[in-house]
């Protein structure tokens, strides 16, 4: 029986275990997780900070899951080393290790693998400002926005009226800022670039987004770096400005967690390098999720991890040994109340670019901005802010590779709107008034001319209105119109 050992019980590791078990009831699965509690859904942390979801609701599995699915789950363990020759990992307890180590070599255990999967995730990157880090840990009053424990700390300190600084105006930073503003905090976002979410937005969209968030009470320091953190007081920025803060939330990006891979001698660049089979430089060892580096992927999002888990499960169980991971097309979708933003594909093409069709619409006063980049008749990129229907529709065209509508503008509007109700006089004679009985305007007019001048009489002679009853208003409108036009036509 194949033994799969998964290092890391986060979203990628948990998903892989689910996908493996769904395909194969017998394959041996061991998961090694360093945190003492069950895996949770990191994507939902911003809703925990916003206060609309409890930490408990974010858990991916309950306590019975491992036993019910015959999974050897080792919580509170870390991998000390990987022995590639003997295909074993040595794991050791992360809690109470000192107590246990008094009794011989108890907490160190060896685990054999046929396939090892590194799903070690990533760690927050902390900007090099003085005082943010003390003795290798974040200083008092500084929190990353990464774990459930972080959320608990943020919740404890983010009381109404508290000044809070969010370091980083990327996707997660803005989600955190929006959640905190919703709790009544006085939020300032400090961002090193000239506009927000510069990876996903062009300057125009970034400007409209900042304006919209500004109306929700969030302030911004753009083109600014934190220089110094003063506990209990706030931040000094690189231009000398002082920003008060009882709490600093760090959301300045993540770095792939690669230390184990480096130690094992695997090829590592920004992340652990993998091929389309999600193999590292040792074909027995795989990597998925934030710790992995695949050319078709950007890190820090859950969709690539899920896609990779499905492919790897196909391969490891033999359900589809030829499965390949060819990258994930990313659609960035901000999860923030009252701010509807989607960004996808190539958004940095200018409106006057000769080899693309680019449409742009701006209405900053209402928080709307839309940009559409088309190439070969297909959606190559888009930013849609403040137009939720268009965001959903354009995403479908992008993901499914559907040729864009001939009417490009309709795509920016996002929705086929129902036709305006025409006045009875304007309808053609063949227009069907009563769908249930296929009664046209012409038939109603003839029936009226033959003496059916009231609704019951018309119903009796044409059956109009006798089905669902939905055309009653239209038929009454026709009767009024016929009545009013009578003298003229007589």
């Amino acid at each position: 029986m194949r033994r799969v050992v998964i290092v890391g019980y986060g979203m990628a590791g948990a998903r892989l275990a689910d996908e493996l078990r769904r395909r194969d009831h017998d394959i041996s699965i061991t998961i090694i997780g360093s945190e003492p509690h069950a895996a949770y859904n990191r994507v939902l942390l911003s809703t925990v900070v916003a206060g609309t979801m409890t930490p408990e609701s974010t858990r991916l599995h309950d306590e019975k899951w491992a036993a019910e699915h015959n999974i050897d789950l080792r919580l509170g363990y870390e991998v000390a080393e990987i022995d590639r020759a003997s295909r074993t990992v040595t794991i050791e307890s992360t809690r109470g290790a000192s107590v246990l180590s008094e009794s011989t070599e108890g907490p160190r255990v060896s685990v054999q693998y046929d396939a090892l999967v590194l799903a070690t995730g990533s760690t927050p990157w902390v900007p090099p400002a003085e005082g943010l880090v003390e003795d290798g840990r974040l200083a008092e009053g500084v929190v990353a926005f990464r774990t459930l424990d972080d959320c608990a700390e943020i919740e404890a300190k983010a009381h109404k009226g508290a000044p809070v600084v969010v370091l980083g105006g990327g996707l997660l930073g803005i989600e955190a800022a929006r959640g905190l503003a919703g709790r009544g905090c006085l939020v300032t976002v400090v961002h090193p670039v000239g506009h927000l979410m510069e990876r996903q937005l062009d300057p125009g969209a970034g400007g409209v987004l900042a304006r919209t968030l500004g109306q929700l009470g969030i302030e911004f320091k753009l083109n600014s770096l934190a220089a110094k953190y003063l506990p209990g007081d706030g931040l000094i920025l690189d231009d000398g400005t002082h920003v008060p803060a009882e709490l600093v939330v760090v959301s300045a990006g993540v770095r792939a967690e690669t230390s184990l891979a480096v130690k094992a001698g695997l090829e590592v660049d920004r992340g652990i390098v993998v091929d389309d089979a999600l193999r590292t430089s040792d074909p027995r060892i795989h990597a998925i999720g934030d710790c992995a580096q695949h050319p078709g992927t950007v890190s820090g999002l859950v969709q690539p991890a899920w896609d990779q888990a499905a492919v790897l499960a196909d391969r490891l169980t033999g359900a589809n040994p030829a499965a390949r991971y060819l990258g994930t097309s990313v659609v960035t979708r901000l999860k923030a109340r009252d701010v509807d933003l989607a960004a996808l594909g190539d958004v940095h093409t200018d409106v006057d670019c000769p080899d693309s069709e680019v449409l742009c619409f701006q209405e900053p006063s209402r928080g709307r901005y839309a940009k559409l980049v088309l190439r070969d008749d297909r959606v190559a990129g888009a930013i849609v802010l403040g137009a939720p229907d268009a965001a959903a529709t354009i995403t479908q065209f992008y993901d499914r590779g559907i040729p864009a509508p001939t009417d490009r503008l309709a795509l920016l509007l996002g929705r086929a709107l129902p036709a305006e109700a025409a006045s009875p006089a304007d309808l053609p004679s063949s227009a069907v008034i009563c769908r249930c009985n296929t009664v046209s305007k012409g038939q109603i007019v003839s029936a009226w001319r033959s003496g059916a001048e009231t609704l019951p009489q018309l119903a009796e002679s044409t059956r109009a209105t006798t089905g669902c009853g939905g055309c009653k208003d239209a038929v009454c409108g026709l009767l009024d119109w016929l009545g009013a036009s009578q003298p003229a036509s007589a």
Binding site: T47, L60, A392, N437, R463
Partner: protein, 643 residues
């Protein structure tokens, strides 16, 4: 409705064009009035003798019975008994498998009992909001909309249907993504704080497991898969919080994941605290005239009368006692499996036209052609009847007594208004005639009222208990099952105190989205979905014979976005081929600007080359055995001029 001088007169509700013109079929020149044996007119005795003698040549399980959801309760009951007692075959199923089976399976899982609507239809009038998932009553059942006047309507349909046009909110998911949308709405209901926690803890079990799946469907993720915006998902759950009903139809049920789809809608209803309370609930909208009663009394492969299970020893003993037999066959195969089984030699079809209505219809037609004996009972020459060795002309609605059970579980009397044409007999007579020749005449009564009396005894004590229902009571009062005794007032609303599981709780069923069984690809880049138009009913065997309806909708067509048409070199009004891995349909192009650019729609009422079911995918739901009628991969082709 009633018939006065051969003319239809509406009841207190309303009638659409199908109802108004239904009288035309009673005296239609195409009406069958004599049995046919190999196409030649024969007497009833000759035809019955022939069929009985052929049946005797086969082993019991080589003979199958295929019933219909339009048959009266009496006929459906007697047909199930006929298969198991006279033919001694396990091979019986019916076209309701293509209709209600997913909703029935999910209802049983969640509530421990399946009654389409566990509340009276008239309750809908008091609702704030009604959500219709995959239902288009403006086409299929227009008078139903009278019950929705004044309520806010949420319609979930990939197409902007006539019903969607009337909706306060129309959510337009990509074909085959209903389950993802239902999961997204459950997730959104949780984060928007509109779930009913008190109800979840006191009246249900299993929420945590269902949530762990739904937790992975946050609105923005759901949006990406379904195309329904996160904003619309939020709007929908806020509309649903309160006095609301969630109703499902075939659009969400006719999938290889149909049971799971319905479970997901029920999970949403349970999280919102809707079922088992006055003024809110979950229900499904039945598709055929007797879609509810037809699934309760034993023409389903695994069922005995009273909605009993055929594999339950207690149920078997009860029915054997009522029927006076000491043996019953076990469960048989489901509809599509039956229609394509290569170990069958004979099939008796009642009230169904599977060569038009079954998925991958060309394969079904081939298989039926290969049988040694195909017998069809119908009142017009349907496409299936036209293939049959023997055809029996039977009575229709206004010519017979009986009962039907409607979508709210209410038993309705059908009263005979006219004598049938000479040569036409009731299905009950046909069953009796065959049973007599197979040596058990006395077990098969022919008077509807007598059969109903027996059905009462057979259903007594079962989930759908009719033992307290009599024809006389039905003349005087409205009775919803169960009616366990003659002094019982019936049960208009189920589950008010407890659900039908032993612990009294409703169950969340954890289900996840898998997507269509046949995703689009380069060769077949579009998704086809099938459905009804107002003027036609089911396979069209009846409605295609009515001039007025044919004038309104005369021929097969395919709806698509104008861009989709022009990209395929097609234009409105011109013929096109729609091609799937299973077949090719010829249809006239209709350009509809509200269609998705990657989907086409085909009505399923037309025969021959226009059969939408030549295309459909027979992938079956693992629980309900429902085929995936509602989504398959296709491409469009121009029709080349042969000349």
């Amino acid at each position: 409705m009633s018939v006065i001088d051969g003319q239809v007169a509406p009841g207190p509700g309303g009638l659409c064009q199908k109802g108004w013109t239904a009288g035309e079929l009673l005296r239609h020149p195409g009406r069958l009035t004599t049995p046919l044996v190999h196409g030649r007119p024969a007497s009833w005795d000759e035809a019955l003798d022939f069929v009985a003698s052929r049946i005797k040549e086969f082993e019991p399980d080589e003979v199958a019975v295929f019933g219909g959801g339009g048959l009266t309760n009496e006929k459906a009951y007697l047909l199930g008994k006929f298969a198991r007692v006279a033919l001694k075959t396990s091979q019986i199923d019916y076209n309701g498998r293509f209709c209600m089976s997913s909703a029935a399976a999910a209802g049983n899982k969640a509530f421990g009992l399946d009654r389409g609507m566990p509340f009276p239809l008239s309750d809908l009038k008091s609702a704030d909001t009604v959500l219709l998932a995959g239902s288009n009553p403006a086409e299929t059942m227009p008078p139903f909309l009278r019950h929705l006047e004044g309520t806010r309507l949420i319609v979930i349909d990939p197409r902007r249907t006539a019903t969607a046009e009337r909706a306060t909110l129309h959510l337009q998911p990509a074909p085959g993504t209903d389950l993802a949308l239902a999961l997204g709405l459950l997730h959104t209901a949780v984060i928007e704080g509109v779930i009913d926690k008190e109800y979840i803890s006191s009246r249900t079990s299993g929420f945590d497991d269902a949530w762990r799946v739904a937790a992975q469907w946050w609105p923005e993720h759901t949006e990406r898969v379904t195309g329904v915006s996160a904003a619309d998902q939020r709007a929908a759950v806020h509309m649903l919080a309160g006095r609301s009903y969630i109703l499902t139809g075939r659009g969400t049920e006719q999938h290889a994941s149909g049971t799971d789809n319905v479970s997901a809608w029920i999970n949403l209803a349970l999280a919102l605290g809707l079922p088992g309370r006055v003024g809110s609930g979950y229900g499904c909208l039945t598709g055929q005239g007797n879609g509810q009663g037809g699934r309760e009394h034993g023409q389903k492969a695994d069922q005995l009368p009273g909605y009993r299970k055929l594999d339950d020893p207690v149920a078997r003993q009860h029915i054997m006692d009522v029927w006076g037999v000491d043996w019953l066959p076990g469960p048989g195969r489901s509809a599509y499996e039956l229609l394509t089984a290569d170990d069958l030699r004979a099939m008796l079809v009642f009230g169904s036209n599977p060569v038009v209505s079954a998925p991958r219809a060309s394969g079904v037609a081939e298989r039926l052609k290969a049988l040694d004996l195909l017998v069809v009972a119908d009142f017009v020459m349907s496409e299936t009847a036209a293939m049959a060795d023997v055809v029996f002309p039977v009575t229709q609605w206004a010519e017979e007594d009986g009962t039907m059970t409607n979508l709210e579980g209410r038993i309705i009397r059908r009263r005979k208004a006219l004598d049938p044409p000479a040569g036409v007999r009731s299905d009950l007579h046909l069953i009796h005639g065959l049973a007599a020749r197979l040596g058990c005449a006395e077990k098969f009564l022919t008077e509807p009222k007598e059969v109903f009396e027996e059905l009462r005894r057979a259903s007594a004590g079962g989930p759908s208990d009719y033992s307290g229902v009599t024809y006389e009571r039905l003349d005087a009062e409205q009775l919803h099952w169960p009616v366990p005794s003659v002094d019982h007032p019936g049960t208009p609303r189920l589950f008010l105190d407890r659900f039908a599981h032993p612990d009294g709780l409703a169950r969340f069923v954890p289900v996840d989205h898998k997507g269509p069984a046949e995703p689009p690809d380069e060769e077949f880049p579009l998704q086809a979905t099938t459905g009804r138009v107002l003027q036609h009913y089911q396979s069209g065997a009846q409605t295609r014979r009515i001039g007025e309806l044919m004038k309104a909708v005369p021929e097969m067509y395919v709806e698509m976005h104008p861009d989709t048409a022009s990209r395929a070199g097609l234009a409105s009004g011109e013929p096109a081929h729609v091609v799937s891995r299973r077949g090719r349909v010829t249809a006239t192009v209709r350009c509809v600007p509200s269609m998705r650019a990657d989907a086409v729609f085909l009505p399923f009422h037309f025969p021959g080359d226009g059969r939408a079911n030549l295309l459909t995918n027979p992938a079956l739901d693992p629980t309900s055995r429902m085929p995936e009628f509602k989504v398959c991969a296709v491409r469009l082709e121009q029709v080349c001029d042969e000349s």
